[in-house]
Assembly symmetry: C3
Homo-oligomer: 343 residues x 3
Amino acid sequence: MADPRFFRRSGPIALGEIARFVGGALSQPGSADFMIRDIAALEYAVEGDITVLSDRRYLSVLGDNAASAVITTEALGRFIPSDRRMVFSNQPRLAFARLGHLFYREPVAEHPGIAASAHIAACATIGAAAQIDPGVVIGAGVVIGSGCQIGANTVIGPGVVLGDQCRVGANTTIGHALIGNRAEIGSGASIGGPGFGFEPHETGLVRMLQVGRVIIEDDVDIGANTAIDRGATGDTVIGAGSKLDNLVQIGHNVRMGKFCIVCGQAGIAGSTVLGDGVIIGGGSSVSDHLTIGSGAKIAGKSGVMRDIEPGGVVAGYPAVPIGDWRRQTAGLIRMFSRRSSKS
Amino acid sequence: MADPRFFRRSGPIALGEIARFVGGALSQPGSADFMIRDIAALEYAVEGDITVLSDRRYLSVLGDNAASAVITTEALGRFIPSDRRMVFSNQPRLAFARLGHLFYREPVAEHPGIAASAHIAACATIGAAAQIDPGVVIGAGVVIGSGCQIGANTVIGPGVVLGDQCRVGANTTIGHALIGNRAEIGSGASIGGPGFGFEPHETGLVRMLQVGRVIIEDDVDIGANTAIDRGATGDTVIGAGSKLDNLVQIGHNVRMGKFCIVCGQAGIAGSTVLGDGVIIGGGSSVSDHLTIGSGAKIAGKSGVMRDIEPGGVVAGYPAVPIGDWRRQTAGLIRMFSRRSSKS
Amino acid sequence: MADPRFFRRSGPIALGEIARFVGGALSQPGSADFMIRDIAALEYAVEGDITVLSDRRYLSVLGDNAASAVITTEALGRFIPSDRRMVFSNQPRLAFARLGHLFYREPVAEHPGIAASAHIAACATIGAAAQIDPGVVIGAGVVIGSGCQIGANTVIGPGVVLGDQCRVGANTTIGHALIGNRAEIGSGASIGGPGFGFEPHETGLVRMLQVGRVIIEDDVDIGANTAIDRGATGDTVIGAGSKLDNLVQIGHNVRMGKFCIVCGQAGIAGSTVLGDGVIIGGGSSVSDHLTIGSGAKIAGKSGVMRDIEPGGVVAGYPAVPIGDWRRQTAGLIRMFSRRSSKS
């Protein structure tokens, strides 16, 4: 179970209610009143817990554990002894994710109010039931929506707008940004700094005009210590529902579509445009001024130097279609390894 | 135009004054009194704006927009209808960059004074007209030059010296550092931490002596969330006019020359020495104890494991001369791709 | 010598005491009373200093400098004029590292007490002689051990436990974490954020349950601006004595053994398990759900996509045994370089 010092559990919750919540069916109709105490991943689940099985490879792990119920597909359920309580779902991992939020509700602004040590400019607007933690600094003209939580010592520069129900971590810096509803911004993130572009002059490097903004649409998550530069002219845009992991770098004037996923330490250089649903693996770098089509997938650690067509899947440095990359890497091992069978 | 919530524009400015400022010539002598309201990149410019055309490929973009004037070269001007107002410059991008600072002046310390919630050690020295924002913590013996701005909640450790007209972002940490004039340090940067070197002992790993400093010369820019370690013995040095992007890592005792450019998420390991004017692409890693000659260029995502001669241009992992790298990558595609013509 | 604005030196210390402290032997028994004023690396040492020579390649550097004593091995000592004072040690670098801490003692909490501007929740517990710097925010139920220093503007979330003698930098954020004794956590680090895992839903991406913790065992160092996510279910674990450099990313449920070394900008994706003594070079990426055996070494900039056996040494992207990688890279240069002899 989750450490009660850090997390507060709801429940217990009846298995029937769980099935209804996730739109699933009970394997044992008589189990609807069985009370489930907690939710846990397969390797951690104990008696009283509901867990999830989404892949046949983990059947043996399920066999060894005492979870009181399991969310799985009807097809996988055929391999599970019928005396175990099951909730059948076509998307068991999604059902499990949604159920997590039922057992562990995290209200955004649990302790509404403005800490005495917060420094709020006179002309800033703080929405109803927002929580402004100690040491927060909020500049002139800022608008914070209702029900937001602004973590301790976070600094929000003049003119920034946040929608409703945003959660901003501690020690975060936000400037020159318009942010939608339900944003989650990790601790230590830096949003709205000047873009990185210079022209050589006899006296040194002159920074190009950097008078754009960062536009973050609804339901975006931004990880810890991630940096997003504002546009030069025009805006840097993170599309609705996109998710950025920790230590990600987003250059000026990047325009990212909806529901993109950018894993840890990936970077996207200036003015590159991404469609919807693009997935970028951890540690990848995407060059500037490229067009990455909707649904494209970039394997971890890739170095992308060309446009990618919608739905394209690439890997490598320079990134090539993933089939080509697999042949390249397998070919190199064949050509040069003494013990390729052992590697 | 730039969002007035975030940026304040000067002007309008007469085209003749603009030409004088950038050392350029008007295509239409009679246009000297024409008033320019704003400045914008080519794809964003509207009537009343001045924009820039530095590359023939974008002539069609210019054709489609209503910018009231354009900075360009005399050679490119021949392709532009003569009824458009032009300012001829040999370096139009530089002229545009400089002009940006004329339209959008950003005074470093716009609101001089020390915020009541700042915590300044008794024996620190704060220069004239400096702006110390709320929550800033300044240690014993610190010297802050005149006209500096120290962003909210930034922490400056004992003994640090900043020159004049430095701008430090919010939530930044600086220790063990001597910093010149006109430094711009992004939010969330960490400057002066101990270097990463350990010796194994029977009881664990013992950290090597880390009693050096960080020396940042004049006119250096450091991006958001970048980390620069202090020297072990001796100093880590960032040469005058060098520019570091976001999330860059600089190891202990790195010595960087003047006017270097280090793009986002690049890293330079301990004791590597860079000459002047080195350019390092985003996401590159440079090993420790190397010598990178002046004017060397390192392509994005490279892994540099050997010295580079002055003027050398490398790419790849391990980095090789860029011509070799191009032949390698093209060769691999030829050898192993089924659809190399499509990749 | 170290800049007295930043570092305070003990001593002078008699050479005999130095030899005893490091368990070494004097080359000149009569030199036991000679007073050593300072310690410095070979290229910086001056008269009055003790330095170190651990590699025959640097003999000429020693020849050129005026250091008053040198720690070296008896074997290397044969190449050094006998009129120089030497301390013989089987592990001169270790002796030098340990001696550094004798000359430059850094008490963790030099100025015990709680700053007036720190915001400590009523039910938090602060150990004896701890130093809580200005602007620190400590949440409900937090336990800070004795002799800790918590740097200015650091934020420690509810329920976090720190052992004794921990040093936490400025602007650091820690949540959902149990931390042992003598941890050193760099400025700007973000510890305990939610893991990065989502399931697609018709309304967007739903975050998976993230109700685990971060467990940091004794004697761990964590660099500046590093990010460590908490477990999803279960814990993210950093084993005793492990050292993480700056800008490192540790995904949820990573379990790292003891005495691992993770260099700058390396990243380890979720649920990967590392044995003891693993060394990961700078800028490397390790995929999720892998097993990296004890003693494995991963070269800088590698992309690890497979398990590594204990003691395995890999390099490349995808990472392969380092001998294979060397043959690959040498082979590519042979095949495709016009001037391989010059690269």
